[in-house]
């Protein structure tokens, strides 16, 4: 047996996995009856449909020709997602200025061509702008500096 559409196969498997995850979470939510639908009714039906579509997609990928897999861009992807995670982790203890600085630092590794001096200047200017916009002008309750 040959996989004719690797893209669809991976997509289908992902959908089946999502359905499985949803089912594991539904647990003991009451399903109810059609006339009195319980909290579990809609999610159960949808999770079942997700799994079904995933299954059809996966089976179809063995029959119908389709697209191959495109390579995932981890070289840019990991630093980019890492930068977001770092911001999320550090914004509370370190405040806006330092968390944004770290975001720039980590995301610099996702850059197509890295120029440290330029990155430094750009980040100082942009962090200044962000503080001006969100803290001074919009008056949002942000921690700007680390809390001692």
């Amino acid at each position: 047996m040959r996989v004719r559409s690797p893209q669809d196969l991976v997509g289908g498997i992902a959908l089946i996995a999502l359905a499985a995850l949803a089912f594991s979470q539904i647990g003991d939510l009451r399903f109810g009856t059609a006339s009195r639908m319980g909290p579990g009714y809609f999610p159960t039906v949808l999770a079942a449909l997700t799994g079904l579509v995933g299954l059809v997609l996966a089976v179809r990928s063995l029959v119908l020709d389709g697209h191959g897999l495109e390579s995932l861009n981890l070289r840019h992807g990991l630093p980019l997602l890492g930068a977001i995670l770092v911001f999320g982790l550090t914004i509370r203890p370190l405040g806006l200025v330092l968390a944004s600085g770290l975001l720039f630092l980590v995301s610099a590794f996702a850059s197509p061509e890295l120029k440290w001096r330029e990155t430094l200047v750009a980040s100082v200017v942009l962090i200044g702008l962000a503080v001006l916009l969100f803290v001074v002008l919009l008056d949002l309750p942000f921690p700007v500096w680390p809390r001692m």
């Binding site: 893209q7 669809d8 991976v10 997509g11 959908l15 999502l18 949803a22 979470q25 539904i26 939510l29 009856t33 059609a34 006339s35 639908m37 319980g38 909290p39 809609f42 999610p43 949808l46 999770a47 449909l49 997700t50 579509v53 995933g54 059809v56 997609l57 179809r60 995932l72 861009n73 840019h76 992807g77 980019l80 997602l81 930068a83 977001i84 995670l85 911001f87 999320g88 550090t90 914004i91 806006l96 944004s100 975001l103 720039f104 610099a108 850059s111 197509p112 061509e113 120029k115 330029e118 990155t119 750009a122 980040s123 942009l126 962090i127 962000a130 969100f134 008056d139 309750p141 942000f142």
Partner: protein, 502 residues
């Protein structure tokens, strides 16, 4: 008719206060600024800028968002013409002749006719919204839960039909969107559903977080992997104003485009997406010189741009009168309204006429602002396009993070953006289009509520959907759409249409 004018007068006095004018101006300006950035379409732009409207009053926030929306759309056309890079599907058509005009040194007239045509279309469409809004809203008073459910189902099926790529994958996106909409506490019992024990999503997945991740972050990732071969026109743009001949050639296409766009925009399931294609095809077909199309015919810019804007505007009608967003951008508007404590629907017009009419008036003001802002600022946008992406993307990323953090002051919420960003990237890489997911995510809770109510009324008898004429009619439309998309002939045609996009 009189009441339309008195209502519009009410709207203009509400939207015309200095503060609201300023908000509309800033919205249009910032919307264009972000929308001009390569690869960022209206959905991503609104997602990124949504948080800055949180601290405003409801009318101010919606006015600013409308400004951002029109700005983002116009920014998309600008990049389509200047860099041959459409910010969104609806400006793909503009690249065909717009960019060719730019290559011939006629970028100025192309941009000007796009702006003026859009303004004209926007003016007509605003009037249509004012005219038909109240009629539709009073009609919607008779809607019961079965009708609402049937209408939303039809809308989602419409979104599947109009999504590009595999139909099955579009179906999958809608189902996954509905499933994600279930996350959080149950509307009746308050029980936790599918939360994986994460406290931050106990009240449901935050709409902004999902949208910023799926569209903003995923978009940056996709841009980073494209090699940077943006051919920005080095030559200075001279002669912004179109000549008389240009204008004469454009008048009829603008009128026809406005008509097409206005009609398609009202349809449930994102008919507005089709508007520019329909207009372009029509202009090419009736032109006496069809061979000029694709080589810089101004009609090929004027028609589709007008159609696009008219459709964008009239797609507010289902949202404002029925509370049902017809596409992903309108789904964002629902998110924004909900955050402001407004439940979109027919009641908004009667309970909060200032807000309703103020928003309609602001649509027109927003369009006017764009003409005023964009034409003189074209030079600035061109220079912005020259800023290297390695500087732009961390800035966009920072604004995404700060924006999402400002919703709940929650760092976990920011980390969820990374998760949804990865998901969005995965989807695009595997041929899934995320827009139907976002629409279904917003409609999900509404659909569940109306389905539950319908079954409660009917004691579990599904015949209720068929026995009520209006819901039966809507379901018939949905079934018709489904059959249509599965017919081999249409299917082939559909693939061709979307293939041209790429």
């Amino acid at each position: 008719m009189d009441s339309v004018f008195s209502n519009l007068a009410l709207g203009f006095s509400a939207a015309g206060t200095p503060t609201n004018l300023a908000l509309c101006f800033i919205g249009a300006l910032v919307g264009t600024l972000i929308g001009v950035l390569p690869g960022l379409g209206p959905i991503a732009t609104i997602a990124i800028l949504l948080p800055i409207t949180f601290s405003l009053d409801p009318l101010g926030a919606l006015i600013m968002l409308a400004g951002i929306y029109y700005g983002a759309q116009y920014g998309g056309s600008t990049t389509a013409i200047l860099v041959n890079m459409p910010g969104e599907t609806s400006s793909v058509v503009t690249t065909l002749d717009g960019h060719q005009m730019a290559r011939q040194g006629r970028a100025g007239p192309a941009l000007a006719i796009a702006a003026l045509g859009s303004f004209f279309a926007g003016t007509v469409a605003t009037f249509l919204v004012a005219l038909f809004g109240p009629i539709l809203a009073s009609f919607a008073q008779n809607f019961g839960p079965p009708e609402y459910f049937a209408l939303m189902l039809t809308g989602l099926i419409g979104a599947i039909v109009l999504a590009s790529g595999s139909v099955l994958k579009a179906v999958a996106m809608v189902i996954v969107g509905l499933l994600l909409g279930c996350v959080g506490s149950d509307i009746e019992t308050g029980e936790q559903r599918l939360t994986l024990g994460i406290a931050q999503i106990a009240e449901g997945i935050n709409f902004t977080t999902l949208a910023v991740g799926l569209f903003g972050v995923a978009e940056i990732l996709r841009n980073l992997e494209k090699t940077q071969d943006r051919t920005i026109l080095g030559a200075k743009i001279t002669g912004l104003m179109p000549t008389w001949a240009d204008i004469k050639q454009s008048i009829m296409p603008v009128l026809r485009g406005t008509g097409i766009g206005s009609v398609l925009g009202i349809l449930p399931g994102n008919g507005a997406v089709l508007a520019p294609y329909a207009s372009y095809t029509l202009e090419k077909k009736i032109s006496r010189t069809p061979q000029r199309f694709g080589k810089g015919a101004i009609e090929g810019v004027a028609g589709p741009e007008s159609a696009n804007n008219a459709g964008a505007q009239t797609s507010f009608i289902p949202l404002l009168t029925l509370g049902i967003p017809p596409n992903a951008v309108m789904a964002m508007m629902v998110g924004a309204m909900t955050i402001q404590g407004i439940v979109p629907g027919p009641a908004v017009m009667t309970e909060n006429p200032t807000l309703f009419w103020g928003m309609i008036a602001s649509m027109w003001i927003g369009n006017l602002m764009l003409v005023i802002i964009n034409l003189p600022l074209v030079g600035v946008w061109v220079r912005l396009l020259k800023v290297p992406y390695r500087i732009l993307f961390p800035a966009i990323l920072m604004f995404c993070c700060i924006g999402v953090y400002s919703i709940n002051s929650s760092g976990i919420e920011v980390m969820l953006v990374a998760l949804f960003g990865a998901v969005g990237y995965f989807l695009v890489k595997h041929g899934f289009e995320p827009a139907p997911l976002l629409l279904a995510f917003v409609l999900g809770p509404l659909m569940e509520e109306n389905l539950r109510r319908s079954f409660l009324i009917a004691r579990g008898d599904p015949m209720i959907f068929v026995n009520r004429p209006l819901s039966a009619f809507l379901l018939l439309v949905a079934v018709g759409l489904l059959i249509l998309v599965l017919l081999p002939a249409i299917r082939k045609r559909r693939e061709e249409v979307f293939h041209e996009e790429e």
